[in-house]
Symmetry: C2
Subunit: 354 residues, 2 copies
DNA sequence: CTGTTAGCGCGTTCAA
DNA sequence: TTGAACGCGCTAACAG
């Protein structure tokens, strides 16, 4: 045993630094900066992080040394020491839905501003995804999770990790997952869509609803029903879909059969499937059937006719979710539920009943 | 100075471990596993990483201890030591193009299999994006970059970092960026599209090309021209767009005016804009005008009529790019250019000339 | 206001 | 085959 061997360390290091001298080939460390600025490493740290008061002279010398050496702190050393990954996992169980891309961009944009990094967790394979998230969290690779559920069940494995894991739910809410939530006013948006349809003179209105177990779907359905009910009306029919295009296609038969002159679709993807099948069958839109969607995905404005819909502020939801996660990580408690307003987008698929 | 103070460390640690005893409240470290398995930490490391031969008995005890404690190595400590982030940056300068989502999912899927993590670098703001990538690389937060260019210029800042940065280009190629490339056979795909159009009897064929400075656009244009030329034909007109929807809309006038019976669009987004405007103007598709796109984005199959197009294997491109990056990180040199085959997707927008 | 000291949790020499 | 010692680069606690 050589208990004193570390005694030599300082000297060895001084030598090594001297060797590297002018032509620095390896990555500069905080010690190199300290040497160049003729201060200690901890002072450099204090200057860079503003953790302790420093004199202007020192600050300048450090800044100069940093610039000259092109120093940048090594993320892993810093993260190890700070016990923070400065990263969040962005969970997207349904990457086929373009709405979540918008949310993702919002998360990324807020993360950029906050010095955070976004780690992608996207896959169609649910079990794989859950295991991956759990792994990321447990390896401390991320400090928390933004979960864009899209109607998928909440990973049981994450609950096992204890409810202490910082998670925020974006867009969709789970009854059994007690996490803060940032989404939009689904119910209000649905009401507005129904109101607009009623104002166009429709009375026989069908509803193309989303999956029963999904919160947003239930909110939207409730909103539709509310508004129809306020006129003493019941829907011509209620068809359930799964928020994806094929289910919209499949719903067309029942909806056409119901004699409805308009249909309130709980999301754009299903509306698109419905419209596609209707047009192929010779049903004119909005001449024979009016359609109002929900989400305002890009495709909605690529169609002919252009889809009238309810716009969800995807980016803002993403930004809000990231913000909520940040306040959580700062040790505070964010709003339990943040509901952003939706916006009616009036385009071409809504007309008056024939 | 107390050079020997570290002498007490082992004892202190033993005490701390004993204290934590049965009810372990803090995160288990490799030392906890070592204690539980009655071996040393380095042995645990050797077992887990397979770095050194170990006896079956030890292996079993370690595995048991790991399972019981729920141990998982802390990413940052490991990364610091290994000098590897086990992460790649996924750069998406044009997140509005859904084709890149497919590429992203391919990258993610390969990363999952390889124990890598995907860090999102997506933004419309080019300058911000470049700075961010440079930062990630320099802070060693990522080991390399998968760059889905989409016609954007290559970040100059990255070249300044020296050409030693592991980067692979996905989908699009830069003449001035000497990095390995994984994409599809754009020229061959374009030839096939042109051939199919010719085989349908079209002779007056317009080309809706992409931006002149983009490699994929030039490849596709060359492919179209090749195939038309093989029949002694010249295009009815060549209109340049920027790969986005509005430019397709704007191109419709010139194309209609040219008297073409078919148009070869260099990507789906522009084809969609073109079709949209044509339909609104009462031009029937494919009755009056046939259209063949490129990419096969999801929206292509949501339209009415369904878009005929050339399918690029987005996922496979993503997977291939990630694979190329991995071989680069392993110290080997990947294929300089990997061209995956495209596939003709025949749907409804291609008919015979009237 | 600055410097010294002591780890963060891991992987990796070497000796034994 | 195993284990003791050490250092990756950084920051936090304390001492001056």
């Amino acid at each position: 045993m050589l208990p004193n061997s570390n005694r030599f360390e300082p000297e060895l290091e001084t030598i090594r630094q001297a060797q590297s001298g002018v032509s620095m080939t390896r990555r500069p460390t905080i010690k190199d900066v300290a040497a160049a600025a003729e201060v200690s490493a901890s002072t450099v740290s204090a200057v860079l992080n503003g953790t302790a008061p420093t004199s202007p002279g020192v600050r300048e010398r450090v800044a100069e040394a940093v610039a000259q050496l092109g120093y940048q702190a090594e993320a892993h050393a810093r993260n190890l020491r700070r016990r923070r990954a400065h990263a969040v996992g962005l969970v997207i169980p349904d990457p086929a839905n373009p709405f979540f891309i918008e949310v993702a961009l919002g998360v990324q944009s807020k993360a950029l501003e906050s010095g955070m990094v976004v780690v992608l967790c996207a896959t169609d394979e649910a079990a794989e995804l859950e295991a991956y998230c759990a792994h990321l969290l447990q390896a401390r690779y991320v400090d928390g999770l933004v979960f864009t559920s899209g109607g998928h069940r909440f990973p049981g494995e994450l609950n096992l990790l204890g409810s202490k894991v910082p998670v925020v739910l974006a867009d969709d809410l789970f009854a059994d997952a007690p996490y803060p939530f940032v989404g939009s006013d689904n119910r209000g948006g649905a009401q507005a869509a129904a109101r607009l349809t009623l104002d166009h003179g429709h009375r026989r209105i069908a509803i193309l609803a989303g999956p029963a177990e999904v919160w947003t779907a239930e909110q939207r359905l409730a909103g539709y029903l509310d508004e129809l009910g306020s006129e003493g009306l019941a829907p011509a029919t209620v068809v359930r879909g799964d928020y994806r295009v094929p289910s919209g296609r499949q719903a067309s038969a029942a909806i056409l059969e119901s004699g409805a002159t308009a249909v309130l679709a709980a999301n754009d993807l299903m509306a698109i499937g419905l419209i596609q099948t209707c047009l192929q069958a010779g049903v004119r839109i909005p001449g024979d059937l009016s359609v109002v969607g929900f989400d305002d995905i890009p495709t909605a404005s690529y169609l002919a006719p252009l889809l009238s819909t309810v716009r969800q502020p995807g980016r803002e939801i993403g930004r809000g979710a990231m913000a909520a996660l940040l306040t959580q990580l700062a040790g505070h408690t964010p709003d339990d539920r943040l509901l952003l307003p939706t916006e009616l987008v009036v385009r071409d698929t809504l007309g008056t009943p024939s």
